[in-house]
C-alpha cells in the first residue's frame, strides 16, 4: 500500500490508517538510528504557538534545525497581531507566504483545521484546545513500540485527567488499530468522554473505568499518567472540586510487571514521585526525546522529502 504524505495536513489521529501510522513510526526509527542533517535544508518551518509550550515547540524547532531547515514564528499570542484583532485565518494566510510548513498550537478546538482550510502549505496540529494532539500520539505509539517490542494486544492504563487530556483522547483513538485493553483510572468528574468510549465500543476495544490505581497496575504493560489540566476547565469551581490527584510512587511499583513502563506527556506536577525516575519502569524522558525523531519524520513526510 502506497502512503503519500506530501502536502498532507496532520490534524487528527483518526484521519490515519494503521498502515499510515506504522509508516510514520518506521521513518521515526530510521531517523533515530541514522540522522539526516540536510534533509530539509531548503525549507522553512512556521512555528506558531498561541499558548505556552516547552516540549512540543522546542522539539519541532530542534527537529527542523537538525534536518538542516530554518524556523520562524512565535511562542505566544502576545507576539502576534491577534491583539490588533487579526483573525487566525488572516494570520495563516500571511504565514503561507513566508514558510513551507506550519506547526500550530492554539487554545481553541478546531483551530488547526481552520488553518488548514485557509492555506495550501501543510499544517501540523501541535494541539488545539482540548481537541487533538496527533504528533504526541505518534511519539507515544513509537515509544510504546520501542519499550514493549510491539503495539499489539497490550494492556494500557490511562490515569488522571481523562476528560480534558487531549493526549489520552488521541492515544485511545489510535490504539483501536492495535487491539489494546484499556483501563481508565480517574475521578468520576474527569472520566474519559463518551465520544471516545463510543468509538472504542464500535471497534470492539475492551475498556473499563476505575478509581484506584493499585488494583490495575499489576495487570498492565503501560501506565500513562496525566496532569490535571486546570487551564482547560470552563469554571474554576469545577477545578477546585477535583480531589487530590493520583500520585505514582515507588511503592506502587512493587507489584508491577517487569516490562511495565510509565509514560507521561509532561510537564508533570505531582503525578509521579521523582524517586520513580530512577526505576527501570520510568520511560517519560525517553518518551519526550522520541518527540524529536517523530516530528522529524512528520516534517520530512509532509514536505515530500521522505516517501
Amino acid at each position: 500500500m502506497t502512503t503519500n504524505f506530501k502536502h498532507r495536513d496532520i490534524l487528527a489521529i483518526h484521519e490515519f490508517t494503521k498502515d499510515e501510522i506504522l509508516h510514520i513510526l518506521d521513518h521515526t526509527q530510521k531517523l533515530k538510528s541514522q540522522p539526516r542533517e540536510n534533509l530539509l535544508d531548503r525549507y522553512i518551518l512556521g512555528s506558531c504557538f498561541y499558548e505556552p509550550s516547552t516540549r512540543t515547540r522546542l522539539s519541532f524547532e530542534s527537529a527542523m534545525h537538525r534536518l538542516g531547515g530554518k524556523v520562524i514564528g512565535f511562542s505566544s499570542s502576545a507576539q502576534t497581531s491577534t491583539a490588533k484583532g487579526e483573525s487566525l485565518h488572516d494570520s495563516m494566510k500571511m504565514l503561507e507566504g513566508y514558510a513551507d510548513v506550519v506547526v500550530l498550537r492554539h487554545p481553541l478546538d478546531g483551530a488547526a483545521r481552520l488553518a488548514a482550510e485557509a492555506i495550501h502549505i501543510p499544517v501540523i496540529n501541535a494541539g488545539d484546545g482540548a481537541n487533538q494532539h496527533p504528533t504526541q500520539t505518534f511519539l507515544d505509539l513509537f515509544s510504546i513500540r520501542e519499550s514493549q517490542g510491539t503495539l499489539e494486544n497490550l494492556s494500557i492504563a490511562f490515569v488522571g485527567d481523562l476528560k480534558y487530556g487531549r493526549t489520552v483522547h488521541s492515544l485511545a483513538e489510535a490504539l483501536v488499530h492495535f487491539n489494546a485493553r484499556l483501563y481508565f483510572i480517574s475521578e468520576t468528574m474527569l472520566e474519559m468522554p463518551e465520544p471516545v468510549c463510543e468509538l472504542l465500543r464500535s471497534r470492539g476495544i475492551k475498556f473499563s473505568f476505575h478509581q484506584y490505581l493499585d488494583d490495575i497496575l499489576p495487570k498492565v504493560d503501560i501506565v500513562y499518567m496525566t496532569r490535571i489540566q486546570e487551564e482547560r476547565f470552563s469554571h474554576k469551581l469545577e477545578f477546585e472540586g477535583v480531589k487530590t490527584p493520583f500520585c505514582l510512587t515507588v511503592k506502587h511499583l512493587k507489584r508491577a510487571k517487569p516490562n511495565l513502563k510509565i509514560f507521561h506527556p509532561l510537564p508533570r506536577v505531582n503525578e509521579i514521585d521523582p524517586q520513580v525516575d530512577d526505576t527501570p519502569h520510568a520511560y517519560y524522558f525517553q518518551q519526550a526525546q522520541n518527540g524529536l525523531y517523530t516530528r522529524q519524520a512528520i516534517l520530512g513526510l509532509v514536505l515530500g522529502e521522505l516517501l
Binding site: 487528527a12 483573525s87 487566525l88 485565518h89 492554539h106 487554545p107 481553541l108 478546538d109 478546531g110 483551530a111 483545521r113 481552520l114 488545539d128 484546545g129 482540548a130 481537541n131 487533538q132 465520544p195 470552563s234
Partner: protein
C-alpha cells in the same frame, strides 16, 4: 368528496410552486429560516399545527413559483417525515420524501454548541456532518469534533 381529493386540495392550493407537507408540528418557521425563504420574494403560506392522519399534527409550507434546489434534503433535519410536492396548474406533478443528508451545507445557519470551538470566534460557517443512530440524530462539528444532539444545536436565526 373523497379523502384523496380533499388532501389534494389541501396540499395544492397554489397554481405553481412547491408544497412542503408533513413538517413536524411547530417547525415550519425553522424550515422557512433554513431555506432563507423570506428572501425569495415569493408568495408563501404557512400552516401550523394542522391535523394530520399520519402525524397527529403537522405544519405545512406552500411557496408559489419556487422549486427546491439540490440541498432540499436539509429540511429533513427539522422535518424527517416531510414530503415535497411539486405543483403545476394546481395539480401535484411530483411528490417525494426528504432524506436525511450526510453533511449539512455550509451556508446552513447552525452554530456549534462547544463554547471552545474556533467557529465561535472566527468568521466561518459552521460545518457539520450528520450522524444518525437508531434513536437520535447528532451533528458532528468538523472543526472541533464534538457531537451535539440535533435538538440541542444552536440555530442562528436570520
Amino acid at each position: 368528496m373523497t379523502n384523496e381529493l380533499l388532501e389534494t386540495i389541501a396540499v395544492s392550493t397554489i397554481q405553481h410552486g412547491t408544497v412542503i407537507d408533513h413538517i413536524t408540528a411547530g417547525n415550519a418557521l425553522k424550515i422557512v429560516s433554513l431555506l432563507d425563504a423570506t428572501h425569495l420574494k415569493c408568495e408563501m403560506t404557512i400552516g401550523i399545527y394542522l391535523r394530520s392522519d399520519s402525524l397527529g399534527h403537522k405544519d405545512i409550507l406552500k411557496i408559489a413559483n419556487w422549486y427546491p434546489e439540490e440541498q432540499i434534503n436539509k429540511v429533513a433535519l427539522f422535518a424527517p417525515h416531510a414530503t415535497i410536492n411539486i405543483i403545476c396548474d394546481y395539480q401535484v406533478a411530483e411528490k417525494y420524501k426528504v432524506l436525511l443528508p450526510e453533511e449539512i451545507p455550509i451556508n446552513t445557519p447552525f452554530c456549534c454548541s462547544n463554547p471552545r470551538c474556533v467557529s465561535k470566534v472566527e468568521t466561518v460557517q459552521g460545518n457539520f456532518k450528520v450522524i444518525k443512530t437508531q434513536r437520535v440524530v447528532k451533528l458532528l462539528c468538523t472543526y472541533c469534533g464534538k457531537n451535539t444532539l440535533l435538538s440541542e444545536v444552536h440555530y442562528a436565526e436570520n
